[in-house]
Amino acid sequence: MSVFAWMAWTWPTAIFFAGIALLLLFMTVLEILRPSIERRGFLPIATSRGDRLFISLLSAAYIHLAWLGLADLPLWYGSILALAWAGVVMRWA
């Protein structure tokens, strides 16, 4: 039994966390190569690239929760909405 068996891993959650880890790694490399400059977009605060990623991820979590709690449609639609919102935040926030 693996030392991480207590964590009850599944493939979908492993892929999810690997995706987050890769995203953070990619953003770190990008920050080193092309440091971001804080800017003001449609949000009332100045944000860096990392801030916008954080807002996108947090929003995605809430969009999915709202979709699960309020809508009867498949969750994929919520995922598409979260992705679109993340695009808006990363580009115009």
Binding site: M7, A8, T10, T13, P35, L58, A61, L68
Partner: protein, 290 residues
């Protein structure tokens, strides 16, 4: 912007990162894993997808516990932050009295949380407790085990007594860090005490008050030991907060899936509000610039 050229210093952060990874990130990952499975025991877990999330999002008892928690944390912030600042402003700045006041104020912070609950159980007992007996002698029927309002009053008093000193200590540290020249300039301009507070002390306390608000929000939102010992979530469900409900679900009923799903939601709520408080406190009065 000047960037450090020696990135070797980042290695110094590695122990902290490893520590956080083991005591926070790995358990959080495990909770997410539990939240999408039906767990019957070690090695007996079955994938259920988002089923627990749907169940938890529709659970009325959890909704009630959450609203109760928002009310409690809101009251904690509304009472403890202004009270802490007021006490800090009234504290002596020099002399032997400073040490004495600081030690007395810090005493509640040194008491273990479950002992705090026991102290207040005894203190408010109508038969032998100083507060409970005094109130009942005055003709006020006070019993935190029978009346939801009395339970809330006791809980709030306990919370304010326990944690306001932390806000006081932080605010006092902020006040002590203000150079004397600011006060001298204000005196030359003939500024009133209110103007000194509004335009010198309050802005200078921004950093410590941000920490105070974040700590008090997160701690009060995750409160468990004190209400569990004091009221056990009662009378009825009057003081059942999400943490108490979660422990009942996770350890009492061994429903790790729904408990995991709600833990993730609980975490996201704390994360969102902490971020919002941080942004507001950092940006208020600065025209939105960070």
């Amino acid at each position: 912007m000047h960037k450090p050229t020696n990135n070797g210093a980042w290695l110094l952060v590695v122990p902290v990162v490893l520590l956080v990874a083991f005591n926070a990130i790995l358990p959080l990952m495990a909770v997410v894993n539990y939240s999408v499975q039906d767990i019957f025991g070690p090695g007996q877990a079955y994938w259920v997808g988002t089923e627990w999330y749907r169940e938890v999002l529709g659970d009325k008892r959890l909704h009630e516990a959450l609203w109760r928690q928002f009310l409690f944390s809101g009251m904690v912030l509304l009472i403890e932050i202004p009270l802490g600042v007021l006490i800090a402003l009234a504290m002596p700045r020099k002399g032997w009295a400073v040490s004495l006041v600081l030690v007395v104020l810090a005493l509640p912070l040194l008491i273990p949380w479950n002992v705090i609950g026991t102290i207040w159980i005894i203190f408010t007992r109508p038969d032998i407790g100083l507060m409970g007996y005094s109130l009942n002698s005055l003709g006020i029927a006070f019993d935190h085990t029978a009346s939801p309002l009395d339970a809330w009053i006791t809980l709030m008093l306990m919370e304010v007594w326990h944690w306001t000193p932390l806000v006081v200590l932080l605010a006092y540290a902020g006040l002590k860090a203000i150079p004397e020249a600011y006060y001298q300039a204000a005196a030359i301009d003939g500024a009133s005490a209110w103007k000194v507070f509004r335009y010198i002390q309050l802005p200078k306390m921004r950093g410590v008050l941000t920490i105070a608000v974040l700590l008090r929000f997160m701690d009060s939102f995750l409160i468990y030991a004190e209400p569990f010992v004091l009221t056990g979530g009662g009378p009825g469900n009057a003081t059942t907060f999400p943490s108490i409900y979660l422990v009942k679900v996770a350890l009492g009923q061994f429903d790790l899936g729904p408990a995991g799903a709600f833990s993730v939601i609980y975490f996201l709520i704390v994360l969102l509000f902490s971020w919002l408080f941080y942004q507001v406190l950092q940006n208020v009065g600065r025209g939105g610039a960070r």
